[in-house]
C-alpha cells in the first residue's frame, strides 16, 4: 500500500466521469475507458489509477492538475471526448 495515501482525503465509492466534476473539485482516478493506446499514454502522463487530481477548467478542453503531493504543478489538457472516459472518485 503506498504510504502517502494514508494522509489523503476519503473518496466516494462510486466513480463518475471526469466531466462531471465542478471547477476546483478534487478526486482520484478510478480507471480510463479509452482506446488502449490512449489509455497507456494517459497512464504514462500521470493519469494512473489512484492519482489525485483537481479540476481547473471544464468544457473543451478540460484542464486538470495532478495534485498528488506535488503542489498541483502539472497540468494536463484533455479533449472532452477523452475526458468523459476518465472515471473519478470524487473526494468527500
Amino acid at each position: 500500500m503506498p504510504i502517502h495515501n494514508a494522509s489523503m482525503p476519503k473518496a466516494s465509492r462510486k466513480a463518475v466521469p471526469l466531466t462531471q466534476l465542478s471547477r476546483g473539485q478534487r478526486g482520484r482516478i478510478d480507471c480510463t475507458d479509452a482506446a488502449s493506446e490512449d489509455c497507456s499514454m494517459l497512464r504514462a502522463m500521470g493519469l494512473r489509477p489512484d492519482a489525485s487530481i483537481q479540476m481547473c477548467r471544464l468544457g473543451e478542453p478540460c484542464i486538470i492538475s495532478l495534485t498528488g503531493g506535488c503542489g498541483g504543478g502539472c497540468r494536463i489538457g484533455l479533449a472532452k471526448d477523452i475526458a468523459s472516459r476518465v472515471m473519478i472518485h470524487i473526494d468527500e
Binding site: 490512449d38 504543478g73 502539472c74 497540468r75 489538457g77
Partner: protein, 662 residues
C-alpha cells in the same frame, strides 16, 4: 565546467551518454547548458525522429577530462509506449540505433532528467531506465521552481532508493550543473531495481515518491495560471487572443525580416557583379552569375523569415502558450478531420511547407499526420509572396486597399482549399476519427532565449544546406535549359543595329540597340530548351489564357514557384515600348509578339488562382515522400493540387471572359 573537445580523438575512446526524460522537463535546456553551441541535430536513419548530438569534455577533475558524446533523445513519457519516439529511445538504450554519423552501441551512461515539480509521474521513466542496468545519473531539474512551490526532495534518500547518483539542479540558473557533469564522469550501474510491468512500476514510483519527498498538503496559488488558462482556451477570448498573437507574429516576420532580406538581396547582387567582372564572358560566367548566384540568392533571401518564424515559435513554446493554442485550434480543425497537433505544422507552412511538413512528425496519430502533410502545401508560403505581389499589382494598379484584399483572399483560399482537402481525404482514403487531444500544459514562464537561438540556428543551417544542395542543383539545370542551345542574332536585330550605327543622335541609336537586344533575348528564350518545352505544353495551358512565355514561367515554377517572377522578367525584358522604372512594371506592361498584353485581367486572375493552389515546389514533394513514407503520397499531393489549381484557374479565366472581361 565542460568544454568543447577537439575532433582529433577517435569515437571509440569517447563515452556515449544518452539523455532521456519526459517532455517539458527542461531536458534540452540542460543539454544546451552542458553542450553549448557546438551541438548538431541528426536524424535516426530510416525514421523522422531526430536528436541533438554534442561532443564535449566532462571534467571528472581539472586534470582528467573525459571525452563524451551527449545524445539528447526525444522527450517521452515511457519507453514502452507504441510511439515512434518511445521505440527509438528504447533502441538507443539497447544499442541498436544511433543518430546519423554516430556508431550504434549500448550507451556508456544514461542521464535521466526529471522535473522536481512533478516527481511522481517522472519516476516511471526513472524506473524503466534503471531496469536497463546502465551506469545512470538522475538529474532532478527545476529544483528552484519546486522550492517555490514548497516541495522538498531528499537527494541522499533518493540516491539510496535508486542505487545511483541523484543531483538536484536547475538548467535555467545553472545551479547543480557542475555537480551533475562530475557525477556523469563517475556514473555507476544502479544497485537497486524496479519492476518492469506498468502497474508494478506505478506502485514502485508511489513508494519511492513517498520516501524521498515531503508531501505538501498546501497547493501552490495557481490563480493566475487558472485565469490565463481559462482566457487562452475560452471559445471566444481564446480565439481572439490567438488571432492577436498570430497577427503580431506575422507582422514581425514580414516587417522585421524585410531589412535583412534587403541586405541579403544587395549582398548577392554585389557578389553577382563582382563575380561577373572577375569571370570572362562565356558559359562559365553565365552559369555562375545567372545560374548559381541568382538561383541560390533567390532562395537564401527567405532565410530571415524562416529564422524569425522558428525563433518566435520557440519563444511562444517556451512561454507555455503554444500548448493552449493547440486546444483552441483543435476545436476549429476537428470538424475538418485535423487535430490541434496540426497547428504548428500548418503555421510553419506559411513560411515554408518544408519545415511545416517536418514539424508534422510530432503528430501522434498516423492518419492525422498524413492529412496534415497533404494539406500543408496549400498554406501560402513566403515563396508565393513575390508572385502574389506581381499579380495583385497588375490587377489593381495604384489601389493598395484592393491589392491588400486580393492578398488576403489568396491566404484564405489556400486555407479553405486545405480544409476542404482534409475533409475529403478523411472521408475517403484516410477514413477514421481524429485522435482526441491529451496534452501536458507546461507552466507559464519566461522563455529561454539561449534554447530559442540554438533551435533557430539549427533550423537555419538545415535550410541553408538545402539551398546549397538541392536548390542549387535545380537552379543550374533551369539555367542550362533556359540558356541552351544558344541562338545567333536575328535578321531583324542585325538590321536594327545597322540602322543604329547610321544614326547621329546617340539617344535614338541607344533605343534601337535596346530593341535589337530585346528581340535577340526573346528569340533566344523561344529557341532554348525551356522555350521549346513551353511551346510544346502551351496548348495545355491555352484554356487558362497563358501564352508560350507564361507557360514557360509556370513550367519553370515546378522547381520552385518564386522562379516565376524571375523567369518572366528574363523573358519579357524590354518587350514593350513603354519606359519602365521597375522590373514589376516591365512585366506588367509586357506584350506578346503580336502586340497584345500578356497579363490581361482574366489571365492575371487565372494565374493568381493557379499559384495559390498548385503544388509548384519540387523540394516539398521530396520532403512529402520522405515524411509520409512513400512517393505515392507525393504523387497524390501533386495530382490533387494540380487538378484543383487547373480547374480553378480555368473556371476563373472562362468566367471572366464569358462575363465580357478581357
Amino acid at each position: 565546467m565542460p568544454t568543447t573537445s577537439s575532433d582529433s580523438q577517435t569515437a571509440s575512446t569517447r563515452r556515449t551518454i544518452a539523455v532521456l526524460g519526459n517532455p517539458n522537463v527542461g531536458k534540452t535546456t540542460l543539454f544546451n547548458r552542458i553542450a553549448g553551441i557546438r551541438a548538431k541535430t541528426s536524424n535516426f536513419p530510416g525514421t523522422t525522429q531526430e536528436a541533438r548530438v554534442a561532443h564535449v569534455e566532462l571534467n571528472a577533475s581539472p586534470d582528467d577530462p573525459i571525452e563524451s558524446i551527449l545524445i539528447d533523445l526525444p522527450g517521452i513519457y515511457s519507453l514502452d509506449l507504441d510511439l515512434s519516439e518511445s521505440k527509438i529511445c528504447a533502441d538507443v538504450l539497447a544499442g541498436t540505433a544511433a543518430p546519423v554519423g554516430e556508431e550504434a552501441h549500448t550507451p556508456d551512461a544514461l542521464l535521466v532528467v526529471i522535473d522536481a515539480t512533478n516527481l511522481m509521474r517522472n519516476l516511471t521513466i526513472v524506473g524503466e531506465s534503471i531496469a536497463k542496468r546502465l551506469p545512470t545519473v538522475v538529474a532532478v531539474n527545476m529544483i528552484d521552481a519546486a522550492r517555490r512551490r514548497g516541495i522538498y526532495i531528499d537527494a541522499a534518500k533518493f540516491a539510496e532508493c535508486l542505487g545511483c547518483s541523484v543531483v538536484l539542479c536547475s538548467a535555467r540558473t545553472g545551479e547543480g550543473v557542475d555537480e551533475l557533469t562530475a557525477a556523469l564522469s563517475h556514473a555507476k550501474i544502479p544497485d537497486r531495481s524496479a519492476p518492469t510491468d506498468q502497474s508494478g512500476i506505478e506502485r514502485w514510483s508511489e513508494d519511492v515518491y513517498a520516501l524521498v519527498s515531503m508531501p505538501t498538503e498546501h497547493l501552490a496559488d495557481d490563480t493566475l495560471t487558472d485565469r490565463l488558462d481559462r482566457a487562452f482556451t475560452h471559445p471566444v477570448l481564446g480565439m481572439l487572443s490567438f488571432v492577436a498573437i498570430m497577427t503580431g507574429l506575422f507582422w514581425m516576420i514580414f516587417k522585421l525580416a524585410s531589412y535583412p532580406m534587403d541586405w541579403i538581396d544587395l549582398w548577392f547582387g554585389a557578389v553577382g557583379s563582382w563575380a561577373g567582372s572577375l569571370i570572362p564572358p562565356g558559359a562559365i560566367h553565365d552559369l555562375m552569375v545567372d545560374g548559381v548566384i541568382a538561383g541560390v540568392g533567390g532562395t537564401v533571401i527567405f532565410l530571415p523569415q524562416i529564422c524569425l518564424l522558428f525563433f518566435l515559435l520557440a519563444l511562444l513554446e517556451g512561454s507555455g502558450y503554444l500548448a493552449r493554442a493547440a486546444f483552441v485550434i483543435d476545436r476549429a480543425l476537428r470538424p475538418f478531420g485535423l487535430s490541434g497537433h496540426a497547428f504548428v505544422p500548418l503555421l510553419s507552412s506559411h513560411a515554408c511547407a518544408i519545415p511545416g511538413i517536418m514539424a508534422a512528425r510530432a503528430i501522434p496519430d498516423k492518419r492525422d499526420r498524413l492529412a496534415t502533410i497533404l494539406v500543408a502545401p496549400f498554406m501560402s508560403c513566403t515563396a508565393r509572396i513575390p508572385v502574389y505581389v506581381l499579380l495583385t499589382t497588375i490587377l489593381f494598379p495604384y489601389r493598395p486597399l484592393y491589392q491588400a484584399l486580393a492578398f488576403t483572399m489568396c491566404y484564405a483560399l489556400g486555407i479553405f482549399a486545405g480544409l476542404f482537402t482534409s475533409l475529403l481525404f478523411r472521408r475517403t482514403i484516410l477514413r477514421g476519427k481524429s485522435r482526441p487531444m491529451a496534452l501536458e500544459l507546461p507552466s507559464y514562464r519566461l522563455p529561454d532565449l539561449k534554447s530559442a537561438l540554438l533551435l533557430t540556428f539549427d533550423r537555419g543551417m538545415v535550410f541553408l544546406k538545402k539551398a546549397g544542395t538541392l536548390i542549387l542543383a535545380i537552379s543550374i539545370v533551369l539555367w542550362w535549359l533556359g540558356a541552351y542551345p544558344h541562338s545567333g542574332p536575328t535578321d531583324a536585330a542585325i538590321e536594327l543595329r545597322a540602322q543604329a550605327e547610321a544614326l547621329v543622335d546617340p539617344e535614338q541609336a541607344e533605343t534601337l540597340l535596346a530593341q535589337a537586344d530585346s528581340l535577340d533575348t526573346r528569340n533566344a528564350a523561344a529557341n532554348s530548351f525551356l522555350g521549346r518545352i513551353g511551346g510544346t505544353f502551351q496548348p495545355m495551358f491555352a484554356p487558362l489564357g497563358y501564352d508560350r512565355q507564361l507557360t514557360v514561367g509556370v513550367l519553370a515554377s515546378f522547381a520552385a514557384r518564386e522562379v516565376f517572377v524571375s523567369t518572366m522578367a528574363v523573358q519579357v525584358a524590354g518587350s514593350d515600348d513603354v519606359e519602365d522604372d521597375t522590373v514589376l512594371e516591365s512585366i506588367a506592361n509586357a506584350t506578346n509578339d503580336d502586340g497584345s498584353r500578356i497579363f490581361t485581367y482574366a489571365t492575371s486572375w487565372s494565374l493568381l488562382f493557379f499559384y495559390v493552389l498548385a503544388s509548384l515546389c519540387l523540394p516539398t514533394l521530396v520532403v512529402t515522400a520522405k515524411e509520409a513514407g512513400g512517393w505515392k503520397w507525393a504523387t497524390l499531393q501533386l495530382g490533387w493540387m494540380s487538378l484543383l489549381a487547373y480547374t480553378s484557374a480555368l473556371a476563373a479565366y472562362q468566367f471572366i471572359i464569358a462575363a465580357g472581361g478581357s
